[in-house]
Symmetry: C4
């Protein structure tokens, strides 16, 4: 009994934030995650690694130990462990520990610990939860609504990039830095997205003309994803219909400003001043 | 009889995707197109061409042969061959074969085989067809609606680029990399579209001031095509309504299944029931 | 009499496009303008100027002569010459001739002939006139509506750029290319507008952090002018109100879907099927 | 008495612009602020500082003296000095003087005088006040409405940048300029925001593929803040309506001057005329 109740209390603390203890737990977890990210970053700077290598490695193993214990506790106290393990958060939690062990074989793998940054999305649980999630929900509804349009857009973009890239390879050639078609496609993406690194640039007059076309295309079609997303978001945010039961035919959903039912023609709302007017006229 | 029926069956397989065989045919075609694109790209990388030149050339001719046979079959089995040949897809199919033969004269022409990427638009036929096409249709309606506004915008842009480019040529001059007016116009496009390669940059104080004006212009007017397209797309998405002039109040747009006007309650359409009309006429 | 009528006919040809002769005149004018722009551009390319200098100079003076004669004719045949001279088009027409004479004193002034490109806006008169102008009108209404918001935005941008620029000058200093505050402000504009030439880049860790802030600011606030313009354009394109005379109080403008007058409460439109229904019920 | 009235008059001149003297004061203040900014900028250009160092330092101290006197006067004549001192404008006014004294210890601190540019926001008080402020208000309402969505967006962006940056560090490594994870994150921000300085660029094929993903991500998700802000701004601009629950149909938003509901015709507000109420009660 005692153990069972202890496990339940642990479950409430670790998985929920509506108790003071739960909130404190999540706040500390966030701080530890951020600290571990900072350590990973400092470890990648040559100067710091050379001077404080031992300390940084020690800290990294310390954080990994903390996250491993937390992971074990989460499995232990969850009523259905397998459900947690294969949930989105469960997989991310596992991915936050694995690279440390992988680094024993592949030295660079430790940097993949940065995947811990995804755990920082828990921050929404520490901040006031509901409004942020409902706002994120609007964004998701808009993204889901624009999915098919975005796929059509990305496929057209791919075709465009393939053709522009090859054209530049044929026109400019390896002598001007366009060493292969994949390289030219990379250049086309750099230019079309208006990033423009400048590591490869056209040198011939014809190449510059095509580059001008690529740039104006990129500058103009940025309107397309923006337009798609904005129109969908505006749709998601607008209260789309009037919810009112028609007195004639019980139709529930109407045009936003409907006065009459579009199915049976009944007036949806009674005038509230007709009786009063009658009374007033009578009393005159 | 037998041959005729075989030709009809072939027509269904090659030109439609609603049969299992037709779907399998289109899926394989897509895979072959992608494989041929990969081969063209590898052939352009010097290292691969030197080591596997024979293999790559062989594969390219193989793919060309497959596409040539497919093209011949399409002409053979289509009920009205000339209609197919001069359709958009027919011309693309021809363009997917020609560069291979052109390459016997002009070596670089083979890379134009990348035009095959346009054939990949067939992917919409393999994926669930209708929703994607209707979404692409929204985009096309919005683009068509914004055509005139976009032309006005592009002409203003052209004038702007011409004047900014010449101004920079006069201010900076050939000594600072602005070697001619066309070169300066190229720079103006690179800057106005916010690409900013950095291969040509202003060096004088006055030149930098004009460059600042160009950049802020470019950064601000990107709002114009976006605004045009978004407004048109929102319009196109809203227009999913019944277009019918209400006999009572002339309201034009109604709910898709409206029988009565939601503004004045008038019946939108007269009942054409003949018995009733007869009765009414009799009672007049 | 004869001369008067000849002048009137000339006026119709030169200033209007609704006659075949007028349309032909404007089309030829456009071709001459484009040809003169091409000559100015070729003249700025060193190679061409050296080889064909005499020819190009000759052509330029030829075009200037044509435009000068056209300008004289416009003044001659206009009923109120002074009104034409001080109109927008009149001033542009004058500016298209002046730089050629100015070039006798200042050699580089000839390139200012590019100002002729503004004359190309006449192209809207040659194309089908009305739809383009009404579309351009939407854009102008939207721009005028967003003027005050844009000024607020640009002033905030200026303050931001001044502060970011000075901060970078203090942090990076002349040793890293930020040689003065105006130079740093130029860098801030290059970065905030996402152009990113790369001729000046931060080298210190602190400088890179500030640069990150500048870039994310620039990337995010591009939403502001776009949002302003889109919202205004959508407003301009939406039929804002219902135009219908209220039977009760003669109010003319109502909410888009109003069924009742919001001033006197009268029903705006009669139900067109009530009489009919009564008849039908009577005949049953 | 005399002194009191003089202080009150000073208060009106310094803090308000609705009197001619107040407007003149604010106009002159703006000119002095701009002049002081110009002096700070010239002082940062090596050539000018060397030749006119004494003059520039003198002018700077002159401007600092003017602002110090102005600050003292503002405190002196304000009815509640502490309220002014801790207001936004009060703090900015103090910040406009401090760096000059700080510069006696830290030479570079004088450039922080650029913070005076924030004082230029007073320009809205000199220009016609109300329309600009109400427009700025729309922008603020839209920004406040989109705050939560923007935070969700920026947090997702941060996670994305951390992961992309580390990935590039692991793939490209110090040999290709990606010397540490913070450096790679800086590169990821430069690329994702489409700035693209080009000081660090990927060199391996895999690195270029990831860079392509980063660029297309950046190019696409710029739609998100734009969409959020546009939708909110359109909302803010539409909300110029009367918010009152209709007693008949619960419609919430009406025309600014509505007396009756445009959907059901109900009178929105009861007449509070007491005589009438008395009559009505009597007739009950």
């Amino acid at each position: 009994m005692q153990s069972q109740s202890w496990r339940e209390r642990l479950y409430t603390i670790i998985f929920f934030t509506n108790t003071p203890a739960g909130k404190r737990f999540d706040t500390w977890l966030l701080i530890v995650i951020m600290a571990s990210l900072v350590v990973v970053m400092f470890d990648s700077i040559t100067g710091y690694r050379e001077r404080h290598g031992m300390l940084l490695t020690g800290l990294e193993w310390g954080f990994t130990a903390i996250f491993a214990i937390e992971y074990a506790l989460r499995i232990y106290c969850h009523p259905q462990p397998s459900r947690y393990i294969f949930s989105f958060y469960g997989l991310i939690d596992l991915l936050s520990i694995l690279p440390a062990f992988l680094a024993l074989l592949l030295p660079d793998a430790q940097y993949l610990l940065v995947v811990r940054s995804i755990r920082m999305l828990r921050i929404f649980r520490v901040l006031k939860l509901t409004p942020y999630l409902s706002q994120a929900n609007y964004l998701l509804v808009a993204l889901r609504g624009s999915k098919q349009k975005i796929i059509v857009f990305l496929l057209s973009l791919t075709t465009l990039v393939l053709i522009y890239g090859t054209l530049m390879y044929v026109i400019e050639g390896p002598a001007n830095g366009f060493t292969s078609i994949p390289m030219s496609i990379y250049w086309a993406v750099v230019t079309l997205t208006t990033v423009g690194f400048g590591d490869i640039v056209p040198h011939t007059a014809l190449g510059k003309s095509v580059a001008t076309a690529v740039m104006i295309t990129g500058y103009s079609i940025i309107a397309v994803p923006t337009g798609i997303f904005t129109a969908e978001l505006a749709n998601a945010m607008r209260a789309d219909s009037l919810q009112h039961k028609c007195p004639g035919c019980a139709k529930l959903s109407h045009e936003p400003n409907a006065a009459f039912c579009s199915r049976c023609g009944s007036q949806l709302f009674e005038r509230r001043n007709e009786q009063e007017q009658a009374q007033r006229e009578a009393s005159d």
